[in-house]
């Protein structure tokens, strides 16, 4: 039996891992389809980093659960309702490179600030994984931020398309900061930190880049989709899982 604190820690790790894995799965859809060779390689590299981060957190989650589960069980043998990723990362990119970069940028800025806090976690493994992940995330944000500026301050078409991406994604950013009693328990124990504490800094970060990109944050949003923490996902998610989990479910004895 896990203690309440271990249960919370296990859930906390799965949330981070799920978010990185599902984001990576979406980004990896560009492999072989990138707009230019360099970006094709870039996106495969970014996806690889995110999968690596997910593996670290899954492995730790499994270690806490201590019942023989492995990272693969979490990734390939759970259903839709068991995944805790935010809705934003599962949204399909529909081959719109600007949409992918905007998503990477918005989520990346959040991850950057989250990992910066988690580096101070009293849990040694969490702080170690955070210190590792933040270096990669910093590089991703730098890359995605450059593209947001280039496309936003580019041609009329690129501006319109990346502004549309921002309009579509913005309502989903609210969910990034969502937290519940799992977080509260970990915050009390110095393992995690209040996400609200860096919300204004996040807003400042994205606003700074949007100003350079001549993009504006949509106003008057009244609907902010949510559900990831409870495992309630968008209609797109089942299809993503079906593709991602096909092989290990079809061939249960397959090994790496």
């Amino acid at each position: 039996m896990m203690t309440d604190l271990n249960k919370a820690l296990n859930e906390f790790c799965l949330r981070i891992a799920d978010n990185s894995l599902i984001h990576a799965q979406r980004i990896s859809e560009w492999t072989g389809h990138g707009p230019i060779l360099e970006e094709d390689i870039a996106m495969s590299n970014v996806a690889l980093d995110l999968i690596g981060q997910a593996r670290g957190f899954y492995t730790y989650a499994a270690q806490i659960e201590a019942n023989g589960k492995t990272e693969d069980v979490y990734a390939f043998h759970r259903g839709e309702r068991e995944f805790r990723n935010k809705l934003m990362v599962e949204l399909p990119d529909n081959k719109d490179f600007g949409f992918t970069m905007m998503k990477l940028f918005l989520n990346g800025c959040f991850d950057y600030l989250m990992f910066r806090d988690l580096m101070k976690s009293t849990d040694e493994t969490i702080s170690g994984l955070a210190a590792k992940s933040i270096k990669e995330v910093t590089y991703h944000v730098r890359h995605a931020g450059d593209w947001v500026v280039r496309l936003g301050d580019g041609t009329q078409e690129s501006h319109e398309r990346v502004q549309n991406s921002l309009n579509e994604l913005w309502p989903f950013t609210n969910e990034l900061f969502e937290q519940d009693n799992i977080d509260t328990l970990l915050i009390t124990n110095g393992i995690a930190f209040d996400k609200e504490s860096f919300r204004s800094e996040w807003t400042k970060m994205v606003t700074e880049i949007f100003a350079k990109a001549t993009l504006s944050i949509p106003e008057n949003n009244t609907y902010f989709p949510t559900g990831g923490l409870k495992g309630v996902h968008t209609e797109h998610f089942g299809f993503l899982l079906a593709e991602m989990q096909y092989l290990p479910r079809m061939y249960p004895d397959a090994v790496w």
Binding site: L48, G56, Y139, R142, G145
Partner: protein
Amino acid sequence: MVTLELSEIWDLLNSIPDPEVPAISIVELGVVRDVRVTDSNIEVDITPTYSGCPALKNMEEQIRAKLLLVGLTPLIKTIYKPAWTTDWMSDETKEKLRAYGIAPPEKLSFENLHPFANNDKGPVACPFCSSTDTSLTSRFGSTACKALHFCNACCQPFEQFKCH
């Protein structure tokens, strides 16, 4: 019973080339963090360069194979703390990279730690002709740890080991 000296084990590990950049060893790369000899066994700590580096598994297998030759079956642990950095490479290792045709990483600076900081340290010197008349082609290269550059002086594309 482990009969080898600790330094001999390090020497063995230092003879394993990085599978992606064979000019340097996995010890020079900084992936092997610690080796401990216990009464009955040997423990090796390794750390990934990048979280998703696909070569880590191969490095682990090579360590196993190399130590098995001297009758050892090591317990290999992956650790994350402290996080791997290119600053662990010695000047000698960096020179090996350059001689191999890969521009070595610069020293990590504070600017690397923030995504928006101006991290323009000027052009990277071409490993072939040493010219600094070069430009960045792509932040991402053939492996997680490298970026692509182009030398305008000798018209050669080249890779740089990213500062990380």
